[in-house]
Structure formats: C-alpha cells, structure tokens
Symmetry: C2
Subunit: 600 residues, 2 copies
Amino acid sequence: MAEFQVFDPVSTPETGPERLAALRVEMATRGVQGFLVPRADVHQGEYVAPSDERLAWLTSFTGSAGFCAALMTSAGVFIDGRYRVQVKAQVADCFTPVHWPETQLDEWLCKQLPNGGRIAYDPWLHTASEIDKLAKKLEATGIALVTSDNLIDAIWTDRPKPPMTHATSYPTQLAGKSHDEKRAEIAETMRAKGIDNTILTQPESICWLLNIRGNDVTHVPLVHGFCILQADGHATLYMEAEKAVDIHDHLGRDVVWKPRTAFAEDIASLSGKILVDPVTGPVALRELIDTDNAQIHFEQDPTMLPKACKNDVELAGTREAHLRDGAAMCEFLAWVDTQEAGRFTEIDAVMMLEECRIKTGDLKDISFDTISGAGRNAALPHYRVSTESNRIIKDNEVLLIDSGGQYLDGTTDITRTIPIGEQPQHVKEAFTRVLQGMIAISRVRFPAGLAGRDLDVLARVNLWQAGQDYNHGTGHGVGHYLSVHEGPQRLSRVSHVPLQAGMILSNEPGFYQEGEFGIRIENLIVVRAAPSLDTSTVENMFEFETLTYAPIDRRMIIVDMLTKAERDWINAYHADCRDKIGPRVSDETAVWLRQATAEI
Amino acid sequence: MAEFQVFDPVSTPETGPERLAALRVEMATRGVQGFLVPRADVHQGEYVAPSDERLAWLTSFTGSAGFCAALMTSAGVFIDGRYRVQVKAQVADCFTPVHWPETQLDEWLCKQLPNGGRIAYDPWLHTASEIDKLAKKLEATGIALVTSDNLIDAIWTDRPKPPMTHATSYPTQLAGKSHDEKRAEIAETMRAKGIDNTILTQPESICWLLNIRGNDVTHVPLVHGFCILQADGHATLYMEAEKAVDIHDHLGRDVVWKPRTAFAEDIASLSGKILVDPVTGPVALRELIDTDNAQIHFEQDPTMLPKACKNDVELAGTREAHLRDGAAMCEFLAWVDTQEAGRFTEIDAVMMLEECRIKTGDLKDISFDTISGAGRNAALPHYRVSTESNRIIKDNEVLLIDSGGQYLDGTTDITRTIPIGEQPQHVKEAFTRVLQGMIAISRVRFPAGLAGRDLDVLARVNLWQAGQDYNHGTGHGVGHYLSVHEGPQRLSRVSHVPLQAGMILSNEPGFYQEGEFGIRIENLIVVRAAPSLDTSTVENMFEFETLTYAPIDRRMIIVDMLTKAERDWINAYHADCRDKIGPRVSDETAVWLRQATAEI
C-alpha cells in the first residue's frame, strides 16, 4: 500500500440518479428551478476536504475544477479542456457534460430555461466576482439568482466531519521571514491605500502570513481558518479550538485566536475600509458587512504577490528540495528501465515512485495524486489511476508520470514521459516537439513587465507547425511548502500578471492523442534577473532558472529535429543533472544516470 | 525632383515660441489654463491635409502620432517610442517632450496644475472614448475639460484651404463587390443589432463602402467626407459639391449626396438607435444627437472588419501589385549595388526608388514618404529625409529603405536594409536576429482565434536572447488601394483582434542602436487557412501567405546563426523571388537577381 495515495475507484456513477432526484425534491420544496453545485469549498482552494466534496458526491465527477448546474429536467456538468474525456467516464446519463468556458453558464441556463426561473446558490461557496458576473449576464433573461442554505448538505446524510488536524508553526529559518515581519509589510501596503481591515479566507494566504501549516486537506500542508488583518499589523485568526492548541505561543501577542464560529459575527462588527478579494472571498461576506459603518473594497488578496515572489531563504530551500526530489526521481526512472513490459502496472509505478521519495527521509506528503498513465491513459492530462482503470504497462507504449513531493523546505512538481520499448516515429516526433517548447521557455530572456500570456506561445509554436497543440496552460505558479498550484502568476494565454523575480512556475507543454498516447515534459523554473550581455540594449530583463533536475528521456528525442541551441540546452541540462544528482543516488542509479545523461 | 515626395526641411522650431505665445493669449481671453492640440483632424486618420496640420504648425513636430498639451507656463509634446529622438531635433525649448504612454496626459496635467484649472479642447478633433477616459481620470483633481472653438484656427492666419480634389468611382472589377452589395451586407448586420443609423466619419470606411477614391491627403487615395448609412442600406454622403461632381452616376439612386455643411444638421434630426465608433467618432457627435428621439450606441465602425478581410478579387489585385512593386524594388536594389559609397545620398536613393516605381507605368502615388536612412539615421524608425538631414551614404554603413506604392489594384509596403561595403560583425548579427524574427512570423501556423498579441513575441525572441528588442509593434494592417495603415488587425502586444483570413499585415521587426545604425526587414503577409497536415489534430489553423517578393540581402546574414528551417525558408523565398520577379525585370537586373537569390 502506498502511504499517501489511494487507488479506490473514485467514481460511482450509479449513485448519481438517486442523489440528483433527492436534490430536485429539495429544489421543489424551496420553490427554485435550479441549484448550483461548485467544486469549491468556502476557501476556494483547489483541494477540498471530504466533507466539502459536494460536486463529486452528487455527480461522481472527481476532477479538480468544474461545477454542476442542476435543474428540474437537466443537469449540466461544466468542465474545461482537461476533463473532456474523464467526465464522460465518470458521470451517469442524467448529467450532461458541458464544454466550459466555450459554453458559458448563462447561455446554457437561458437555453434550458427559456421561460426563466429561480436559481439558488450557497453564498459561502461562490465569490462576489462570480455571482456579479453571472447576475449581470442574466439581466433581462427572466432567470434570477437567489441565495439559500446548501441543498446538498440537506440531503447528504452520511456527510463526513470537517477536518480537525492540529496547526503547527513553520520556522522562520525555513520561511525566511517571521510572521511579525510579514504582517508589518502587508499592513504598510494597507495603510498606503487607506484600508483598515483585510479579510483573508484563502488558507494558503493565512498559512503563509502567519507561518503556520497543517493537514486539513490531502497533499497541501494547509490548515483551514479565516483571518482578519488590521492596518496596525495585528491579526485575528479564526479556527476551531482543538486545531489551534499547538500554535498559541507561535502566534504571539499580536495575533489573537478566536473560534471559527466568531468569524461571521466579527465581520458584521467591522468598520472602516475593508479589503475583500473579489475572486476568492465568499459573496456571503458582502451580505455580512455593515455598510453603515464599513465600506467594502474589492481588491486582490494582498498576500498573494509577496507569497508568490519567494525570498532567498525560500528559494534556497526549494533548490535543495528539488535536488533531493530529483535523486528520488532518478532512482525511480532507473527502476522503470529494469522493468519488463507487460509485467508492471500504472499503480506499481506510483507506489515505487512514492517509495523512492519516502526513502529520502524528508517527504511530508506527495504534492498531488501522481498521474501515472500508460498508453491511451497518458492522453488524459489529469488522469488519476484507480484499481479499476489501472493498466498493465505494455511494450511500445509510453508511461506519463506527473508527480511531486511536499518537503519542509519546498514543493516539487515534475513530469516525465518514459518509453516502454521501441516507440513509433510519430510518438517520438511529438515528444521532440513538446521538448522544443519546454526548452524554448527554459531558455527565454524577456523584458521586465511581460506576463505569462506573452511567453505561452513559445511553448506551442513547434507543435503548431505540425498542426498540433495542447488544451491546457503551459504552466502554473507553485508555492513554497504550500499548494503546488499557486497564483497569481501563470504561463498561460489568459495570464496578465507581470512576471517578477522569485516567482516559481511550472513549464509543462504536452501533446495528447485521444485514445492513443500522451506526452508531457515538466520542470519547475523560477524567474530571476537576467545578467547583462555585451550585446544588451534593454536594461531590465528576466530569465528562468531551472529548479528541476532529472534526465529527459534521450530515447524519445529525434536529434535531427532540434536546432543547435536546443541540442546545446539539453546536453548542458543533462550535464547538470549528472553533476548535481549523481552524488545523491545509489551506485546502480549513478550508472544509469551517466547513460541517461550522455550527450546527444 | 521626385514626383511624390518632397524634401524640404519640415521642421521650423524657431516659429514655435511666437505661435505658442499667441495661443496663450487666446487661452487667457477665454479664461482657460490649457488647450489640447492633437495630431488628428476630424476624420482621425493618419494623414491630415495641410489645413489640418495644427500640431506641426504649432510645435514643428512632424511625426505621424502625438499631441500637445499647451498650458500657460509649460507645453508638453507627447510622443511614443518611435519619435523619442526625432522630437528632440524638431521642437523649440518652449516645448517639453513627454514620453507617452509611459506618462499619461492626466498625470502630467496634475503635476503641472496642482491647483487645478480648465483645459479646453475642440470636440470635433477628439473622440468620445478619448475624452471620457481623460475626464474619468481627472475626476476629483480640480482639472476640468471644457469644449471650445479651435484656438489654433483662431491664430493661424495663413492657414491653407481644405483639400478640394474630385472623388472618383472605384470599379467593381477591382473592388470585388459593388457598393450596393457592401451596403446591403453592412445593413444586414445593423438590422440584426437593431441599429437604425450608422454614422461614418473615417474616409477609409466611406471610400471602401461606396467604392470611391480621391486625393485629399498625400499618399492615401482618400476623399474626405461623412456618411450616414441606414438600416435599409440607403446612405447619405456629405461632401463639398465640387468634390462630388464626378460620382453622382456611380452613387446611384440609393446613395444621396448632400453638401458637407448639412451633416451636423442631419445628425441632430436622426432618430432611433445610432451607431457611433467610440474610437474614431468625434465627441461633437454626441453633443449633436437629439437624445429625446435617438439613442447613441457606441460600437466599432461596422465597415472595419469587412474592409480588413480582403475578398478574392482584392487579394488577386494585391498579389499582382506586389509582383509589379517587387520588380521595381529589384531594379532599385540592383542600382544601389552599382553606386559608389560616399557618392550618393539618402535623397538620391528615394528619387531612384520612386523612378523605378513610376517606370512600372501603374504607380498612382507612393503609399507613404519613403524612409531612407543611412548610418545613424537608420536608427530613427520613422525617419523622413529632408534636404537638411540628408546624409551621404558612406562605406561600412547600412541604408534602411522603407517604402511602398499605391497602385489601383493594391497598396504595398516593404523595408530592406542594404549594406554599403563591409559591415561590422555586430551589425550583421543584429540583422540576422531581426531576420529570424521576420521568418518566425512568416512561417508560423496558428490556431484560429488568436490575435496579433499572441504572435508578436515570435518576432522578438531571438533579439531578446541577445538582450535586444525594438520599440514598435511587429506589424500593422494594410488596406487595398487605401491606407497603408489600416485596422483593426495588428501584430502587436496590445492587439486583441482575432486574425481572420484575408487580413493583410506587415511583418517588420527591427533593431535600432541610437546614434549608430538601424535594421528593419519588412514583407507584407496575408492570413489564410492553413492546409491540414498528416500530423494535424487541430482543425482550424491559419498561416500567412507572403505577398512581398524582393531579395533580403544575403551579405548581411550570418548563416551559422540560422536554424535549418530558417535557412530553408530564406532559400525557398529567394527561389520564389527569382521565379516570380525574374521575368519582370531588365536583363541587367535579372543577372543581379540571380546572384542576390543564390542559396545560402
């Protein structure tokens, strides 16, 4: 058994019709024609506790993004490009998969309800931005949005209890800054804008700000709670008493603890200018704030940028975590090469990789459920192997492994695509094109001020030349012993956030041929100032430092397709892998590593 | 003498102080603390008639974009990246160059007028979008915007008369569609949106819609006027009687002619939903419309997209125009190679190039003043040679020539950078990097739905790797026997307009080392559907067809810096030049062409 990952079939489509019918009874009782069931919990995080898995409980769809709009005679499950294939396999016929964002919720609702209707939602699970946009689009359609209690909670009789793990302090020598310093810095930016109170509802923000960690959701060392930060740097942390027992000393005298139940009441008594993040703050906050005495100010959570721009201590820790993780990856990759095709499975691979990471002695958790897909399963960008889907890894297939580790000093995320036996030419060609995109991002220098959207194209252009592309962003932000998916930075056509020094990103182009095979290659990279060159005329430029070190499979590369610069990059990268990782692996793996990093 | 270009020194900085003083007297008389002097005329076009050259008359700055904010004790001349160097040489000390858009007008005004003030503007020369944005930013600053008559016109005693050229009909066999068809199509889109009247104030839109041309400004075959298009396809054309004499038959019975003076009155009597382009329609229109009977609807001029997506007839004409123009370019380039360094000037080059184009027998005009810059003048992206600035072209310098022709069947625009004698290595390296960017755009295939901003980076990434960049967009839209600068499409970081089949764009990356040298290479390209490939998985993709054929100087290319794909592209392009242009040039030039297009 693996320690951190379970392989039970997660989808039980057969439960869908009965639960949907029960929900419709609740809708009828309340006189509404629909109910929105988001994936999100009150914290709007990517991972939710079992008690908050309302979307999965209702629909059996287990992807990390999506929502259901349940109406009386139809129920749409809205999913993005990553989940087009998965959703078909997971939900019962009573649910209709809807391609989002191509089809917007308002359009779909208008088609389904030509005569209008009342759509209920739980204001704690939706943000102000989300509800305001939807309400605006629904103006004059006859469809009205109304708040209600949560109708899923009303019918989910065996709902699990909320998580109750103990919060722990996170040492300043790993964080690089004490929580006093962090609060003082954020408070200064608040005062500069005349903001009196900031309401924080994202656990990542609160854990980063107060240097605490926990274990309330799988794979992310978070503890759930709320926080109000005042313009003088004082803060109140709202959390169940049993979760906070170990951190009272750590919080010190400037951070007051209160039970979670006091949060709503305290919100109602706030005065002055109050910052709420429109994209992550529940719309319920707006209802609670007393607008006679307080003025709501929608602006991005002020911890997000400072959290995203890692300090030198965080970066040093992250580099070390990646070398440790790279050594574990190499042990794993060397093991794969000793396996006989047809004699091991996707789950075997997950378990061995977890074992390699555990052997480092420092693994706190994996940073997400390992994606281990062979053959046609590799074509599912966010595949999650279960005992039901588990495939034997056969000859002439590729194995796509996307995984990461949570270490106290940093969070990792790496994807490698491994050939099992000989590969068809078109698979190697696709691999090489994906690699070219990944190298283009790794190598680029760019003027300060540019955002992910300005660079995303570089990862795709080689695929485009062959009429190919991939239906996901090129990269996401990554936290420091926090969530492996962290904003605001992204490498994506829709990301306008200027890249800044210290931002960690994934660089993971891919290619997926549905029903056949999938390719993805991923390193983590961090933005840093680019040194001036003899030829330089632009003053402020950035480049990426590579954090991830593990060989990229030479057997998959068609060398003739590479430019000299690309070939030089891969050879230099492999030399670095040899030098940095070589001293950290077993003797057998060191032999494997020398061969795996030989020049091409 | 050249027929279409004049070389008089255009800048007379010494006239600035007196004219500014006179303007300040007018400001004082009217009790305002400032007056805005835009480059634009009422039509918001790039070229303005001499009678509308208010900015140049006041400040002596002759760039094609910019504006002056004249206050009592200071006067800012706002210019973009193209004109940073030029403005310093053109304006007197009483004017302060301001880097725009880095410094916004409202910020500058607030600094200059800390105690507030009244800033006057002529509502016919500013658009609703412009004034609304500025007014919003100036809210609560104590600075108010007020309309007034034009204070420049009040002091410009020897102002030239407005242009009075005769409009001519443009034949359907060149336009590809009759004006009846065009009006019917636009009217259909109006009816679909419930729009009753569309007010057109851009001459390009009116000339395209009604298939007329004229000669009211230099280098663009436009005739000035206004037009109101009704939802039934009927239209009214407002134009001085003497300009319209030759087109009454062509206009037919569904297009009514009225004198230009009737325009304001007719606007005031319109009813229903009225479309005005917020970006090009004068804000004066909003004041005129009778809001008791009419409702103003701000939306992009509905002729812009149909005009931008050239039809097959327009494209066939454009291809032929480019081959004709390419032959003229080759005659010119061959001539340059026979010249002795130190014995010919920038103006000699302009005159010879014009002569080569005139010899085709089909040149109607050049499409803009030829940019002919040698040595350090080549570093001015929009340099315009005058008898004063004219440089002798010396050995070991480059000559940058950016020029185009207006032919009845199409508009051309081409830039080549020609080595005069041996070149330093760093100049050839910069040339090669610029060429790589230009090839990247020429070669790219991309999914439908992408905009110029998604592709712009491809032209820059090779320069970035050397710490270099260029301070202008990669390309602009181009008209069909209309303006060489045409929207809405662009290849630029700020262009969100999805590219569509038939859109013509320039592809002109560059590099400029101030005070030393400049490089630019430009071809025109047109968006077309990309054929499916064996490897294709993305259904709708576009690519660019190259329209411009003239050799790119082989002596400037460092072959080792090119990838195989880039080298293949340049060799294939040169083979096309040889095949397509060879039969059209003189015997001597054919010899030159064979050598200039030899494989690298």
